[in-house]
Amino acid sequence: MEVYGSSGVSLREFGCEQSLLSRPDGSASFIQGDTSVLAGVYGPAEVKVSKEIYDRATLEVLMQPKVGLPSVRERSQEQCVRETCEASLLLSLHPRSSLTLILQVLHDDGSLLSCSLNAACMALMDAGLPMSCLFCGVTCAIDTEGRIITDPTAAQEKESRALMTFAIDSKEHRVLMSATKGSFSVNELQQCIAVSQSASEKIFQFYRDSVRRRYSKTL
């Protein structure tokens, strides 16, 4: 819907709710337009001996699709989310323990990976785990005319020529994770990164607002 112009980056309306589940140590749901992901974090808890790492916590990410069993695609997305979380979490503070992050897709209407990343970050924050920085996910699509669309819907994703998802960190606004589909030029890549970086500021502002809103109630 929103096309990137000179005016700035536009994202679909997004919303978030933290601590909505009672059993996990931290939970969050993140909604971007019609895409919504529910995340739950367990840990730090005891770790299986076979998965124990002596100097840091073991992070496991499980992604459940809306219907059916997780397939190879989910596994590669799990890897992306896990390694992004590993980079921002201070895992060495909890050696020989386990952290489990479960992402349940509630509805997929495009930009699923970025929505999962955002939900993951909010859930980790809710669990109160020590992190070196926050991160957010932004998806950019390049349509057939070469325009960059941020936060595309499923229909826009289908029509697009290339699709890129980046995870941006909150400290230096640099790229933590990148996953792409379709072919594109170097110039287009740099443009998309720049767009994502400016979009990330909006998301980080939203993070800040939602956390402030939440704690203003409790305090």
């Binding site: 596994r75 992306c80 792409t180």
Partner: protein
């Protein structure tokens, strides 16, 4: 004891210690990160390579006669074999004019002690998905070419990639093996019998597959959040803080910029990687063409 080794490491200079192989070995086992850092400080790596140097790549094409196309790639010690088998199937209702390409990467317990027997682990699955994405993004084969009879019959290319020796940089080796095997693949001729409506296959008469693009990958590792090295070995892979794989085709278009998390990367470093990937693409395409021509000349 630990402190002792630590002290040794602080003043450890690999150039001076080359004459003490046992000492080097001890440092490598006790403090692997320090060991590698000391080399990187000197702008070289423990196997004598430069930071931006790939290991020797060798290619063997068409060695498996039971497959319709095959290739064996050695990237230093890392060995990957790709065998392509073509089978006939019905196309899907959504895409009646398209065939299938089914790539799968396997890391059997044979290739390294880190892999256990049983169904593929996360790394193998992520690699399979990555290869599938590269095939789709780069359009190396157009699935329309695999259609025999629209809506009724098409080819399925099962591209089975198997690692025989795992010493890091699996993805690069897989892409080269896949590309070379696809270039080696010859599909038998199929005609549809008009009376019985059943296909007839002439196994003797075969035609080559049309390979539209030549995607080649280049993998990088980031050491200590800043030092960039190419073509990591398995030891380096396990010590580094982030991985990055860039896939480019012959028109210097990017088919994949795959960075599954890890520490952040600046724009300049990324540009450096892309430039290196483009040169790598040219080198590998030249190598594949050379090997294919020599195979043809031998026939």
């Amino acid at each position: 004891m630990r402190y002792k080794v630590k002290c040794v490491c602080d003043s450890f200079n690999p150039r001076k210690c080359l004459s003490f192989p046992l000492f080097l070995h001890t440092v490598r086992t006790a403090e692997p990160l320090e060991y590698h850092r000391s080399y990187l400080k000197e702008n070289c790596r423990h196997d004598g390579r430069e930071l931006s140097e790939f290991r020797t790549t060798t290619l063997n094409i068409g060695s498996i006669s039971t497959a319709d196309g095959s290739a064996l790639v050695k990237l230093g010690n890392t060995t990957v074999i790709c065998g392509i088998k073509a089978e006939l199937a019905n196309p899907t209702v959504e895409a009646p004019g398209k065939g299938y390409i089914v790539p799968n990467v396997d890391l059997p317990p044979l290739c390294s002690s880190r892999f256990r027997p049983g169904p593929p682990g996360e790394q193998a699955q992520a690699a399979s998905q990555f290869i599938a994405d590269v095939i789709e993004s780069s359009e190396v084969i157009q699935t329309e070419d695999l259609c025999i009879d629209r809506g009724k019959l098409c080819w399925v290319l099962y591209c089975d990639l198997m690692c025989l020796d795992y010493d890091g940089n699996l993805l690069d080796a897989c892409i080269i093996a896949l590309l070379a095997a696809l270039k080696n693949t010859k599909l038998p001729e199929v005609t549809i019998n008009t009376e019985t409506c059943s296909p007839e296959v002439n196994l003797e008469k075969r035609r080559e597959l049309h390979v539209h693009k030549h995607p080649v990958g280049a993998s990088f590792c980031i050491f200590d959040n800043s030092i960039l090295i190419v073509d990591p070995m398995s030891e380096e892979e396990s010590l580094c803080t982030a991985h990055l794989t860039v896939v480019t085709d012959e028109e210097e278009r990017l088919c994949a910029v795959h960075k599954p998390g890890g520490t952040s990367l600046s724009g300049e470093k990324l540009q450096e990687c892309i430039t290196r990937a483009a040169t790598r693409q040219r080198e590998i395409q030249k190598l594949i063409d050379k090997v294919i021509n020599s195979v043809k000349a031998a026939q």
